[in-house]
Symmetry: C2
Subunit: 140 residues, 2 copies
DNA sequence: CTCGTTTCTGCAATCGGATTGCAAGATGGA
DNA sequence: TCCATCTTGCAATCCGATTGCAGAAACGAG
């Protein structure tokens, strides 16, 4: 696992591999769950918030990241493990814990596809479950 | 359709019917789709933003409103037509148009229920589809 | 009806995440 | 090496959400 695979990943998605982007991608790979801009800021304290923001935007545009709005106020992200495109059938569900605020990727669970109403063009689906995660349930 | 049914609706949900709340509920009933705090502010220009905010919060707590985060930056709401509780099986899907920014209630389409992972306690599900609505598709 | 208590509302201020303008720095090609 | 382009850091700004506080309204007891 050298740096090379990071560069390759970026290039495969049509992203020019700069030092900042390689660093951020490496950090992202170490998160177990979803992460926010603030999380990245903590891990990469040499980088500026705006650079991280622009990197996130770029990665998302190139389908290297999923964007998740969990209603917590802060946008969450997670690495997209599909290749180039993110077809609807490949999207997975997310779980947001209302107690600890963490958002989990339910990688194994694909978004159930419904029969969409006539006339709408579907680009993307967010399936977000809210409730209490196992850790928070066991407390108290 | 006199004001009475508005008061009754509020009381049925355990909300004390004040003038502000009755007015807001009436305005909400006139929206076809989802609405934001700003939408209500426009319609009820005598009311203060914070009063509207607190009313929305209260209505949501008492399950009179659904809260929808569509990623547009502004939280959207829609009236909940189920009685007291909002069971998962009763939740419906939403569609967010990335062109015009409107969010539609797909009332007829219930959220598909998946088999949830062990250990998580499900309270609520958001199923949000993004894409282009019929009106925006027909243009250009 | 009056008084005291609780609830609600408007106003103003604040918070926090998202986003942008700009100039300096880094990169790539001729 | 030099120029054009892309990136990045810094600082400022935007905007929706949220809160503190004091006056107004609603309620219940006597």
């Amino acid at each position: 696992m050298n740096d090379n695979h990071l560069e390759e990943t970026l290039q495969r998605h049509g992203i020019r591999p700069t030092a900042v982007r390689i660093l951020l991608l490496e950090i992202m790979e170490h998160f177990e769950n979803t992460f926010s801009l603030a999380d990245l800021e903590t891990e990469a304290d040499t980088l500026d918030k705006s650079s991280i923001f622009r990197t996130l935007t770029l990665f998302a545009q190139h389908h290297l990241l999923h964007v998740i709005e969990d209603g917590s106020g802060a946008t969450k992200y997670c690495l997209c493990h599909n290749d180039h495109t993110c077809r609807v059938e490949e999207m997975h569900c997310h779980f947001h814990c209302e107690i600890c605020g963490k958002t989990f990727c339910l990688d194994k669970i694909h978004v159930p596809v419904i029969s969409y109403p006539e006339g709408y063009e579907v680009r993307e689906i967010n399936y977000l479950i809210k409730g209490r995660c196992p850790a928070c349930r066991s407390k108290r």
